[in-house]
Amino acid sequence: MQRRDFLKAAGFAGLSLVSPLAARTARAEPYEGRFWIFVNAGGGWDPTSLCDPKGATSEDDPDPMNHYLRDQIGQAGNISYAPAPGNQEFFDKYYQRLTIINGLDTATNGHDSGSRHIWSGRLAEGYPSLAALLAGSLAPTKPLAFISNGGYDLTQGLVAPTRTGSTGALGRIAYPNRPDPGDGERSYHLDSTMERIQLAQQERLAAKRERMGLPNRRASMNQLFLATQGKNEIRRLTEFLPDLDGSNNPLLRQAQLAIAAYRAGVSVSANLNIGGFDTHGDHDNRSVPRMQMLLQGVDFIMEEAARQGVGDKVIVAVGSDFGRTPGYNGDNGKDHWSITSMMFIGAGIPGNRVIGSTDDGHVPIPVNPTTLASDPNGIRIEPKHVHGALRRLAGVDGSDAAQLYPIGEEPIALFG
């Protein structure tokens, strides 16, 4: 199947032209599967300041990996963590739900390619982000199927990404036929007129698409058709939207919106994004506060999901472009290093688990793909292994989208 034809299969061919009311009823079932949240620490984080701690051999260490000592490294269950502010609270609270993958090889030092590799599973260009692939496989017509707050969000046409702007405008977006979204008595058109308009539009678009011979125009018509399918469901979102956080931690507000969208049954996946990790200079002073915000964000996701009654449905993956070089440069910073870590928590993720490891110089130690133990004859864990495991966990490894974008890894049971 040509990629551009995928939309054809998922769009016009899959959804026959019926009255908008009937269509709405048919499609009104909310999405209730797992909600996938991908938290991107933009710029390349330092795993040795988090879940793959190294430390300095002594206070006189001439080339310290970190500015803390090895004997200060903390432990929560099987998980070791760096003694940075906030880490102990986070790991003590969540270690029983966390899977950590250390020694993950991104095979790149470039921001774009690293981000792409981590979130699409492939170093080369052209693959959709996992968030897009999941949304495209599980519920592509939901109006906020894939929420992107930045980071790697290529969709390859599997699903349209949604950005979230000022929530003050959401009411007017959710109720486009009401002059005042809070007044259900008045409307621009009768409901029957709106349905008549939408049906005529669908018929016109379908006829136009049928006649169109240029593939990119056909594809764009498919995209618009799919976009219109779920627009009436947006009003559900307004029912679940809480007062949004106004702090300087962008993850909190992003998480609130994402979880509200999931509760409304209109979202499958979301990219959450926080930058500031590209610390070539003054690493500790710049990185530690960002890492605290990151962990605060993950904690908030879990708490908010529990508050909203969907704590057992949310799954969170946390990652970054790559890692940072062992030791400090002349500017007291750390440069790019292709070895990194990822953290996973939530529905279906086994807890208190660390897979993979690195040596004192943050070089990966090979892993036996069957036992997951260190093995000099083993392999390096790469993003493709993570993506293969996540696809299987999501049950989309056999989907059309997954077939279009095969990972081709030797399967490793990273998540049980």
Binding site: T155, T162, R172, H189, A227, D331
Partner: protein
């Protein structure tokens, strides 16, 4: 064994081809003989040698990072702009080496002489034959007219000149063509279209669009808010940067702050506009020995006689009037030395300007440096001293970017001009460009030198073409890695032809824009023919309008902007802009190009709000002055009380539907679509009319009425007001206008 090294004659033969490229297909010694079946060496190489053999069978070792990177045969990555021409030249150079009269290009891959990569092709296979033919062609070089592959566009239906005029007018100047422009193009065809475009490219709206296009790259509008731009200037270098702070009047102080910051923030984008507006060579954007200021930023810089001085007469100075000025002691080099550019793409002590170098390649040399080495690297295995200099896994990129990074040597992390006292880093490649090093005498002005080098590089022209291609089509230029070879070659041929035209015109930006506008990629509107398996994927632009473009189109078509409480809905980040896929140049820097449910709902809301405004307003005018309803009155109903058609009225209603399709969508409506729209009108009218009669629906149109002029805010005369909708025709027409305003052909171009 005799080894023959290529002689100068062979070299000159190859380089001599350029002289006859434009004269037709030629063979050695017969420079004037055209041949319709001509296949140029370049095309032959691309189709028969690069595609089937070199890219798949040789490149894996013979690349800058590969096992054969120390040989003379190191091929360029497909990610590099111009890689095909460069690789043909590399192959030609290597093929000239012979052993016993046979090129090593044939001997090595067949293992007739030692080859560390072993036998790659059979001596009796088609790959060998193709390479042999390429080698043979070296003695009889073949060049053909530099014309695109015409058969590539076979079956593609092109928009006529008038349709193209509307599309381009909306894209470049955000308005509909005037009646005069349309008439000129109808009469004069493409030549007249060119002349009309010349006129459009003098309009202020064109320069706003141009700045919008380039801001999508530079993202310097990030600094438009507060003091954000002014604060990037050094207080010592520019002691008057915050001149406004001393103003005791708070309102005036805020106004001055805003205007000065605007002037500083917009400086690089205004340079682009200035160069094009004044028909200067476009290369001046990287060579200009001045920067752009308005009167307020001039005061900030303390640099001009035209600076604002009189605090009581702010209105005398136009903040949108920018002029050339210089900062004493600073060697300006266009955008390269712009404070905004240097701060938007900052550096650190360890990054040593590599980020700036990367963006320089991306913006001005059509090259994404990072793609040159998108192959796995393993820094944990690197043991080299100074790997960026010596390790092939690193220097594939660093050999390209480090010299340019060095050229930024005198500009510090805050974008300040600070001449290095002890020279550039000795452990890096010296400042330069490609293989050329900055001359010692230019070291304090190395960005000026770099700007001159970029200006003479063909890739500079390509980068401008790519930028405008994206703006006109919404598509990325094709990559040989993802497109079919034929599709890539067809587009490359076109770009090469336009590039030649652009360079020959003295880098006249407008010449380039016109050439792109006339190209099949902008003109194509449909295809009739057999399935071409992805070959036409990039032909025929169909991009979702950006929030800015949609905002302009709404106003162009209806005469009113989509506003609420004084805020343009699609331009405000507090309203719909981010939801509708726009950027804020800060946190959100990539546009969404495919619609989602939220965007579809925004489009519906826009269509509802605007039909509610525009339909009653239009009926306040005499028919001859109306944009939307010149053929009908509100009293024109399609059926009488007995349900029989009212013949005259039906015709007028259909005439008006034709007009609406033409005016709003630019479409000559077909009979099928006419009937579809008419049915929408009639069915809506019937239902509403019945409701009015049985009094379940009000005769007053409470939500949508015209009592004031929406532009001036003044009350309309009583006799022109539209409050009641006795026959439910206005609301039926609103349904039609909503239908058209949220249609694919309105939301896309």
């Amino acid at each position: 064994m005799t080894i023959r090294v290529p002689d100068s004659m062979r070299q000159s033969l190859w380089f001599g081809i350029g002289v006859v490229l434009a004269t037709g297909c030629v063979a050695k010694g017969d420079p004037a003989a055209p041949d319709e079946g001509c296949v140029s060496d370049e095309k032959f190489f691309a189709a028969e040698v690069w595609g089937p053999t070199l890219s798949s069978n040789c490149f894996q070792c013979h690349n800058a990072q590969g096992a054969a990177n120390q040989t003379k045969f190191v091929l360029r990555s497909e990610a590099e702009t111009g890689f095909m021409e460069a690789n043909l030249k590399i192959v030609q150079d290597v093929a000239a080496f012979e052993v016993d009269g046979t090129s090593i290009l044939l001997l090595k891959p067949t293992l007739q002489i030692p080859h560390e990569g072993g036998m790659r092709i059979a001596a009796d296979g088609p790959e060998y034959a193709a390479i042999a033919e390429l080698v043979r062609r070296m003695d009889e070089p073949v060049a053909c007219e530099d014309a695109p592959d015409e058969t590539y566009f076979e079956g593609v239906v092109m928009a006529d000149d008038v349709s193209l005029l509307r599309k381009v007018a909306l894209n470049l100047v955000g308005r509909l063509p005037t009646a005069d422009e349309t008439a000129r193009v109808q009469d004069g065809g493409e030549a007249a279209l060119g002349a009309v475009l010349d006129g459009m490219m003098t309009e202020p709206a064109f320069y706003e669009r141009l700045k919008e296009i380039y801001n999508d790259q530079f993202l310097t509008d990030r600094y438009l808010r507060n003091n954000d731009a002014v604060d990037l200037l050094d207080a010592t270098d520019y002691p008057t940067r915050r001149f406004y702070e001393s103003d005791e009047d708070e309102s005036r102080r805020n106004t001055l702050r805003s205007l000065a910051n605007y002037g500083v923030a917009r400086e690089p984008l205004e340079l682009i506009a200035h160069v094009v507006r004044n028909n200067r060579p476009f290369t001046e954007i990287v060579t200009a020995d001045y920067i752009m200021m308005n009167s307020f930023s001039a005061r900030t810089y303390g640099a001009s006689d035209y600076a604002y001085v009189d605090r009581t007469e702010i209105d005398l100075y136009n903040p949108d009037e920018f002029f050339e000025a210089r900062v004493p002691g600073v060697p300006h080099a266009g955008v390269l030395t712009s404070h905004m550019f240097l701060n938007r793409f900052p550096t650190t002590d360890t990054n040593v300007n590599r980020h700036r170098a990367r963006m320089t390649y991306q913006f001005f040399l059509a090259t994404d440096v990072l793609k040159l080495a998108e192959r796995p690297v393993d820094p944990t295995q690197i043991q080299d001293h100074n790997p960026t200099l010596y390790n092939p896994g690193c220097n594939v990129c660093h050999a390209t970017i480090d010299p340019v990074a060095g050229a930024f040597q005198n500009w510090d992390d805050r974008g300040r001009y600070r001449v290095l006292e002890n020279g550039w880093h000795s452990d890096m490649r010296p400042p330069g460009f490609g293989e050329t090093t900055v001359p010692a005498g230019d070291s304090t002005q190395s960005l000026r030198w770099l700007g001159q080098q970029i200006a003479t590089d063909d890739r500079f022209a390509t980068s401008a073409i790519h930028t405008m291609y994206r703006a006109l089509t919404g598509e990325e230029p094709l990559s040989s890695q993802t497109a079919t070879l034929r599709a890539f070659e067809a587009q490359e041929d076109l770009f090469k032809a336009i590039r030649r035209q652009f360079i020959d015109s003295g880098h006249d930006f407008k010449v380039m824009v016109k050439a792109l506008v006339m190209s099949p990629y902008v003109r194509a509107k449909d295809y009739r023919g057999a399935d071409r398996a992805g070959e036409l994927d990039s032909v025929g632009s169909a991009h979702l309008l950006t929030p800015e473009q949609l905002d302009r189109k709404i106003e162009a078509v209806l005469g009113f902007a989509w506003e609420r409480n004084g805020r343009r809905q699609l331009l405000s980040t507090n309203e719909m802009m981010i939801f509708y896929g726009g950027i804020d140049s800060n946190q959100i820097t990539k546009r969404i190009t495919e619609p989602n449910g939220v965007m579809a709902s925004i489009a519906t809301r826009m269509a509802n709000e605007m039909s509610c405004l525009a339909v009653p307003q239009d009926f306040t005018h005499d028919a001859a002055d109306r944009r939307l309803f010149p053929h009908v009155e509100m009293s024109f109903v399609p059926e009488d009380d007995n349900g029989f058609e009212v013949p005259g009225a039906v015709e007028r209603i259909k005439d008006n539907i034709r007009h609406l399709h033409q005016h709003i969508l630019g479409e000559e409506v077909s009979s099928v679509e006419l009937e579809r729209t008419y049915a929408l009108f009639v069915d809506t009218w019937r239902e509403g009319r019945a409701g009015v009669i049985d009094e379940t629906i009000d005769r007053d149109s409470w939500n949508c009425r015209a009592e004031r002029d929406p532009i001036t805010g003044e009350d309309l005369p009583e006799e022109r007001r539209v409050r009641r909708d006795e026959d439910y025709t206005m609301r039926a027409w609103m349904a039609v206008v909503t239908y058209l305003l949220s249609d694919y052909d309105f939301l896309y171009e």
